[in-house]
Symmetry: C2
Subunit: 323 residues, 2 copies
């Protein structure tokens, strides 16, 4: 197949996004992307995980101290969870539960990061958020993570109606949200009211067009990450639907919101997932932000751009609609 030959180009931040988003892109242009160890050097991965944990311990401490939500860490279904309860719930939001699965390339983000994400989601959305501290590789590769999430869900629906639960996640967490719900349906468990897939890493074969077209253009994830995927997959076939839910069967899947951006390395993941859901007759909505990289503007979505907040608005509207 004849490729398209693109010349070298300079791509400035567009004028169509907020000043904060423009600044985030300009900063990202000169910030190196994450460096992944080779898949077979598990010792290097352990070191990277330890460094990441220490970094997030430090970064999260003031954020957790400033959070309005109160966060309790306790096991649900035998799995460590961080339950973040907003100080004040808007009328009608009582009883709604957002089961949130954090990102981090399947390898990073346990402990302090997972706890911080629970608090941030609860603060931004105003909905009780359970952030699952699922197990991670190298010690606990696939299928530990989706199984952990499934056990939390199984225990949760004993006391909370699935009609009040939305399962969501970002990046690797978007993968786990989709695979966990596929696992639940395969077991005959009731579906949650809805699923939120934020820039989801639903295809570990990285077959989508945007893995090439948006490489380097995405300031969060500057290119494919086969090594992280291999450490997580630990030898399993990458097209296993629980590893790459894009290859799953979505008949009977609950209403789903898919979020992405035009510069997202996972743009193709997101639009392919949306089309797959539509083809299966699922009520699925796609939201795509102009020039947005993976996980929003700013380092891993931490920026306070209006565009990042608009994602929260759509997610909250969706949660309220389906629960």
């Amino acid at each position: 197949m004849v490729p398209i030959s693109l010349p070298a180009r300079d791509i400035p931040p567009p004028a169509t996004i907020s000043a904060k988003a423009q600044a985030a892109l300009a900063e990202g242009a000169v910030t190196p992307g994450p460096i992944w160890p080779p898949a077979d050097d598990l010792e290097a991965w352990r070191t990277a995980v330890a460094e990441s944990r220490a970094m997030w311990e430090a970064v999260s401490a003031p954020i957790l101290a400033a959070a309005r939500a109160s966060v309790q860490t306790r096991p649900i279904g035998g799995v460590t969870c961080h339950v973040a309860t907003p100080t004040e719930l808007a009328k009608g939001d009582e009883g709604r539960v957002y089961l949130f699965l954090h990102g981090g390339a399947f390898v990073f983000g346990d402990g302090a990061y997972a706890k911080m994400q629970g608090a941030l989601q609860a603060d931004r959305l105003g909905v009780t958020t359970i952030s699952v501290d699922y197990r991670t590789p190298p010690e606990h590769p696939f299928p530990a993570a989706p199984r952990d999430c499934l056990e939390v869900y199984r225990a949760l629906i004993e006391s909370t109606s699935p009609a009040r639960i939305v399962v969501g996640g970002s990046s690797a967490g978007g993968n786990l949200a989709a695979s966990m719900v596929l696992m639940a349906l395969a077991e005959g468990l009731p579906a949650p009211a809805g699923v939120v897939l934020l820039t989801p890493e639903v295809d570990l074969t990285e077959s989508g067009d945007s893995f090439r077209t948006n490489a380097l253009l995405d300031t969060s994830l500057k290119g494919p990450m086969p090594d992280a995927n291999a450490v997580y997959a630990a030898g399993h076939d990458l097209t296993d639907p629980y590893l790459s839910p894009l290859y799953g069967d979505f008949a009977g899947f609950p209403p789903t919101l898919v979020q992405t951006g035009t510069r997202d390395l996972f743009l193709s993941n997101s639009v392919l997932m949306h089309r797959k859901l539509r083809q299966a007759g699922v009520e699925a909505e796609l939201h795509c932000w102009e020039a947005m990289p993976h996980a929003g503007f700013g380092p891993f979505g931490s920026g306070d751009s209006p565009e990042n907040r608009e994602i929260d608005d759509e997610v909250l509207r969706f949660i309220r609609r389906v629960t």
Copy 2:
């Protein structure tokens, strides 16, 4: 603002699209894009228009002869229209009207092309389609085209309930669909039941990120087209909401479907339009196809890829839902 410096790259068709779509991208990679005369050389534009008309006369003849829909050309509201009636209407589709505004960079596509588009839409969707043969520059620049479309709508709603009408268009026609409905609302006319914006050219300032990121990657429109826009605008401010509806006020706008592709030069137009509609509280849905260029796979969407047909499926579902 620091730009992102992208190296030269070869981008092959991805494996995530159909074989026909892959072949269309490979063919597009070696097909030169359209060449536009300079904006101030109206004589060259007249020649280009005459050549285009002759080409479409020839191309459309066998397509119109093979069309299942019967097509009648007659004035509505004083404007030439091509009314395409499907031979058989599915139960429930009687009385539904798709008011369709063809593309062609505002300059091309009158006459035979407009007639062919009416027949093709009626055949694909199975819904009675009125294709408006709006006036074009250089003889009839802005605002002739949206005013023509408005007059057709004004006349149409005397005999057909607006609740049974969806206004849609592709490319420049997507611009006209949006601007015509904005004009209708400003005049106090009732809104149609819905609006379909297929890869819409809603921003003649071409401010969106994809005018740079998808230049050359889009095999239909290989780059910005300021000359065609200037010939159409004829000196009017390009940010006039009737010239560039992206700058309009969409409060009270009817439900809208927006279609695009990840390689679409108008990807940013489409996602910005979708967000603008959502911000105005409009019920708007976005559909984006993997690696799809402007107007679908194949020369100006003429290919018969499954992905192109999937657009028709979504449009028909939308028309049936809102009418």
